[in-house]
Amino acid sequence: MKEYRVLEIKQSVFEDNNKQADLLRQKLKDEKIFLLNLMSSPGAGKTTTLTRTIEMLKEKLRIGVMEADIDSDVDAATISETGAKVIQLHTGGMCHLDADMTKQGLEGLGTEGVDLAILENVGNLVCPAEFDTGAVKNAMILSVPEGDDKPLKYPLMFTICDVLLINKIDVMPYFDFDLQACIERVKKLNPDIQVIPVCAKTGEGIEDFADWLYKETIKWQT
């Protein structure tokens, strides 16, 4: 009868991902590529916002987009109409992207000559917050119909983001969304976050987001 042994591993799976993410960020720095990770619930307006933002920035920056989706190509087709380079990443049931998948996505996209790469993450406010993708900055979209209490329900997501877009402000009159209360809740969790109310449908407010993105990209490249 053989003896049992216990071998300690004590390794955090999240930390392993964090290390991969740091390596990817360093690589992006060396190659002067800015990567934005864009997150939200399904249907909050990621693709619409990106389309608008690309229209505003495409004369100034070379842009590449990665669309993460379970298995459709609809979003990639929409983005390609702007003329930006785009790749559809089929996540096959995965509800988040980790640093390794993001790295593979960038390789698939081909980042030669790209200044700004944007990842449209899987629509989900829970686990994408736990997995660092290697992005330089994180942004999220909260849309008015989702309610102003989301920061209370998904605090981690609001804590890790650098920018929050509050989208669909055109439908504010039909919902009891308290913008001021929402901003206060978010700032309590994350005092440094920038909050930008937008309407991706009409383009209102998108300019402020595009400006922020442009400045951050240039800062990263120099």
């Binding site: 053989k2 003896e3 049992y4 042994r5 216990v6 071998l7 300690e8 591993i9 004590k10 390794q11 955090s12 799976v13 999240f14 392993d16 991902n17 049931g93 995965m94 509800c95 988040h96 980790d98 829970v126 686990c127 736990e130």
Partner: protein, 113 residues
């Protein structure tokens, strides 16, 4: 459900460890999961057989230890279980607290021959 992808990552890490440490045969993989992590133990058990299928860890057992989600009150410093107290300090009712533990997801150890 994201457990499958994450557990496949666990399998990758353990396989590497097994190779590096010349382990002959693994009996059990032991994980530690924080109560407030997005990894749900029931789902981890459910996806484990699929994740180890065709790997060195096929036929191994899985054991999960739960790490409690504890917070320290920002007002009176009481330490309390975040889940049981609905994120409110049982002593002074403050909802401001610092999370001390509960989001972890560790590969703790392997039991092997």
């Amino acid at each position: 459900m994201h457990e499958l992808g994450v557990v496949m990552e666990v399998v990758r890490v353990v396989e590497e460890f097994v190779r590096e440490n010349d382990v002959e045969e693994v009996d059990t993989v032991v994980l530690q999961v924080g109560e407030l992590s997005s990894m749900i133990p029931k789902y981890i058990y459910d996806v484990y057989p699929a994740a180890v299928d065709g790997t060195m860890l096929e036929k191994t057992k899985l054991d999960i230890e739960i790490i409690p989600g504890n917070g320290r009150c920002g007002n009176c410093e009481t330490i309390f279980s975040v889940l049981q107290n609905h994120a409110t300090c049982p002593n002074c009712q403050s909802t401001q607290f610092e999370l001390l533990s509960g989001r972890e997801f560790y590969i703790k150890e392997i039991v092997c021959y």
